[in-house]
Assembly symmetry: C2
DNA sequence: CGGTCTGTTGAAGGATTTCAACACTCGTGG
DNA sequence: CCACGAGTGTTGAAATCCTTCAACAGACCG
């Protein structure tokens, strides 16, 4: 078993952008707000009006943005970096529900009701986000029905994706689930311009285990297997996809 | 092992109401529409206007209402009976995502986008529902922002519940998952007025397996175990809950 | 340069599935 | 009205997948 890792001397495969040197200028804020799918029908003037209600906040990698079962007061939009949504269990095991990109919405989605965060949010890299009080957002929803329809649509998509995950957890082997999550992460976070096909996330075996509902050891074993087959390359907290086709064959096996 | 089943001679424990003798009068339709949480802020006149757009449809038990990956054109509201939402797998195994009651919404939830049903819907009993063209519903959403907010809220709740299920599938043993689903079904479909604590559903071992992502055999073994412990009574397609407290202890073990 | 975090691998044990046989219930049609 | 057959539930035993415990190796950080 020769699992050769190509070391680039002095440079780790995964380059993580730090928050230093990043600043949330008005232009960047407006650009990111306009990127949010459900603000796309609004005029510049309306966007600026909405922008007034948002406040920028920064988090360093691994900082907790909010915790499960806290009072849910804020709706947030990722501007820079990636955010991990997760649930904790009494046994200390975490479940990763989703990983968010710039433009994604999180936090207090449900405007009515008990307003308790159903999951925790943690900065997966250095993060900048915009947050809005949920009462203010409620006002926007009432005023602009297109925004509500957009949010509804995004929520419906996430529901579909969650139900897809339920099906996979119920019927797929761990190997299939890991092949699948690698494909999905590659589609979402793969750098298509870069030939080394790296997933742009500090992805650990533990993370993979938490996303697929298995143990880190099993995740490691399966990743080793994929490496032997030449399907992936991987090191400490980085993964790159060599053979996308073989991966999707495994999921459809 | 004495699993005594109290037979009521000539009468099965579970009485299923047939659709014969049921008719969707205007009054019943309005009553059910008013029951839908996100129509609650509308006036009678507005309700009547919306009612015009809905058409009633009837399905016999086990009839398929729509199939996964069909074109999604209709949004539906359950008026009478129960509906099973499920996903099929190539291996022939089904996953039950949800069981719906009168007042619940299903079908083409996402108003924009590709409009493909992400799951199948099947009549779990004889069913009457109202359906509306999704374009017509889109018009309503644009006109009444309160409706959009209500639907958003319902969708957000379902998303939460799906994520809860993901956590349970990832971390709970089959025994805990079955205890949990029994409790949830009992809360939703238990007849509180009736002393025999029956879950008002034709619940088979296969159904339980499809809801918890296990095999019918394992579900049967665990149900047998619960019977021995005096926690439940159960026969062919019926379950009643004797000891709710013990069940919730099992889920929290 | 040590210490901590991450990844790897082995081996034993446990949970669950699968295959198989059988019992029972219910509806149907003779 | 009874008998049949399909559908449903039960149970055993073997096989499989996965977890858990444990030890160790390598990478990164200060």
């Amino acid at each position: 078993m020769f699992s050769i890792i190509f070391k680039m001397p002095g440079s780790k495969p995964l380059q993580i952008r730090k928050i230093e040197g990043h600043s949330c200028t008005i232009d960047l804020r407006l650009e990111k707000l306009a990127m949010v799918p459900f603000f796309k029908d609004l005029s510049i003037t309306q966007l600026q009006e909405i922008n007034e209600k948002f406040r920028a906040a920064h988090f360093l990698k691994n900082e907790v943005i909010y915790r499960e079962s806290e009072q849910a007061r804020m709706l947030r939009v990722v501007v820079f970096g990636t955010v991990k949504l997760l649930k904790h269990t009494e046994a200390g095991k975490d479940i990763v529900l989703d990983i968010l990109q710039p433009g994604d919405l999180f936090g207090s989605l449900s405007v009515l009701g008990d307003k308790i965060y159903p999951e925790s949010a943690q900065a997966y890299s250095d993060v900048c986000n915009l947050s809005i009080n949920s009462d203010d957002f409620y006002t926007i929803l009432k005023k602009y029905s297109s925004v509500g329809i957009g949010v509804l649509n995004m929520t419906a998509e996430r529901l579909q994706s969650a139900q897809q995950q339920i099906q996979e957890l119920s019927t797929f082997s761990v190997e299939k689930r890991i092949a699948n999550i690698l494909l999905r992460l590659y589609k979402k976070f793969g750098e298509n311009d870069n030939p080394n096909k790296l997933i742009q996330l500090p992805l650990s075996r533990m993370d993979l285990a938490d996303m697929t509902g298995t143990s880190p050891e099993t995740a490691s074993r399966i990743m080793s297997h994929f490496k032997e087959e030449g399907i992936i390359k991987s090191g400490r907290q980085w993964v790159s996809i060599l053979d996308e086709k073989k991966l999707s064959e495994i999921t459809n096996l």
